[in-house]
Symmetry: D2
Subunit: 126 residues, 4 copies
C-alpha cells in the first residue's frame, strides 16, 4: 500500500494562479484551449518543455491534428510562443514559452484593478 | 506598484494533483466538464462551497442553463455530489463535495499501477 | 488502502512563494520564526485564522510560552499583525494577517531587482 | 511595473504536503533541519538536484560547515539520500533524493490513522 501512496505523491501537483482560472474568458479562449495551455505548462514543469501534439492530445479529448491546429491558433492569438534555446553542449532546441500568456493575464488584471479604483474614486467623490 | 503586486499575490493559487490532469480523459469527461469541476474546487478553496450555476458560468464560456445541465450530468456520472451540512448555529446548508471525483481518480490510478506491475512481472518471467 | 490514500489527499498542500524561501534571511528572521509564520499561514488556509500558541507549538519543537514570545517579537518586527473582524452575525473576532510579511517580501524583491538593473545598466555603458 | 510582476510570478511556488508541516516533529527533526530539507526540495524543483552546502546555506542562517554537518546527520537519520544517476550522454552525476523522507512521513501518517481507527472501534464497542 505504502508503495502506491509514494507513487501517487511523486506524481506531484500543478499550481495555477487563480487569476488564470477567473480571467481566461477575458483572454478570448475557451475551456479546451485553456486546458491545452495548462497541459503545456504541466509538461514543462515536469521537464519536457516541447511536448508534441501527439503527447498533448493523448491526454485530451481532441486528436493530434486538432491539437496542432489549436496550438497554431494560440500562437497567432499571442498566448504562447516557440523559443530557441541552446543546451550546455551547444545543441539547438525549441521550447514553448507561456510568457505571452502571463503578460496578457497581467494586462487584464491591471485593467480590472484600474476600473475598480476609478469606480471607488467616483463613489468617494459623490 | 507594490499595491498591485500585493493584490495579485493575495488572489492566490489553485493546486491540482497531476493525476487529475493526466487522467480525466479516462473518467469520461471532456475539458469543459473538467474545468467546471476545477471551478467548484477553486470556489470551495476560497471559502464558497456551494457556488451557483450563475457564479460558475460567469467564469466560463457556457451560460447558466448549460452550467446547471452539466452539473446535473456530473452528479449522475458520480463525479460530484451535494452534501448536507449544519453550521455552528444549527442552520442547515448544502455544499458540493468532490470526494467522488478523487475516489474515481484513485481507482484509475490503482488500475494503471496494477496493469503496469503485471506487465513488469511478465517481462521478468520471460 | 484507497481510504488511506483519500485521507492523505484531503490533508491537502500548502503553497509558498519561492521568494519567501530564498529571501527570509533578508527579513532578519531565522528558520524557527519562518516556520512559525508558515504554520500561521497554513492554519489560516485550513480555516483557522487565529490559532493559539498552544495549537501552533504542538506542531513545533518549541513550547507554548516560547511560541507566545516569538509571536510578540514577530509583531514588533512588523511581520505579522492581529486584525479585528466582524462575523456575519455581528460577533467580533480577531485574526492574524500576514500582509506585513508579503509587503516586506515585495520590498526586498524590488530592491534586489533595482540593484540588478543598475548593475546591468553599468555593464552596458562600459 | 508589469515587468516586475512577471519576474515575481516566474519565481514560482513550492508546494508542500500539509502532512510534512504537521508531522515533522514526529520525525525527530527541528525547524532548521526541516527548512534544509525544504530548500533541497525547492532547488530540485527548480532543476538543481544536487545543490552544494554553500548554495543551500546562503539562503539560511547557518554557515556552510554547519550545513554540511546537518546534511550528514539527516543522511544518517535516513531522511535524505544521495543517488547516482547517468545523463543521456553517459556522464555520471549525483543527486539528492527525498524518497526516504516521504517514506517515513507515510509511516507516521499510517500509524496515526491506525491508532485513530482503533480508538473509534473501541468507542463503538463501548
Amino acid at each position: 500500500m505504502k508503495e502506491n501512496m509514494l507513487e501517487w505523491m511523486k506524481l506531484g501537483n500543478t499550481t495555477l494562479p487563480n487569476a488564470l482560472l477567473t480571467s481566461y474568458k477575458l483572454l478570448n479562449i475557451d475551456e479546451t484551449e485553456l486546458l491545452l495551455l495548462i497541459h503545456v505548462y504541466s509538461f514543462t514543469e515536469r521537464g519536457n518543455s516541447f511536448p508534441t501534439p501527439n503527447e498533448i492530445s493523448s491526454l485530451m479529448t481532441i486528436n493530434s491534428t486538432q491539437c496542432s491546429d489549436m496550438l497554431r491558433r494560440l500562437i497567432q492569438k499571442g498566448l504562447i510562443e516557440i523559443q530557441d534555446g541552446h543546451s550546455s553542449d551547444g545543441i539547438r532546441f525549441e521550447k514553448y514559452s507561456l510568457d505571452p500568456l502571463w503578460d496578457k493575464l497581467l494586462d487584464v488584471f491591471l485593467q480590472q484593478k484600474k476600473a475598480k479604483d476609478v469606480m471607488n474614486q467616483q463613489t468617494i467623490e459623490t
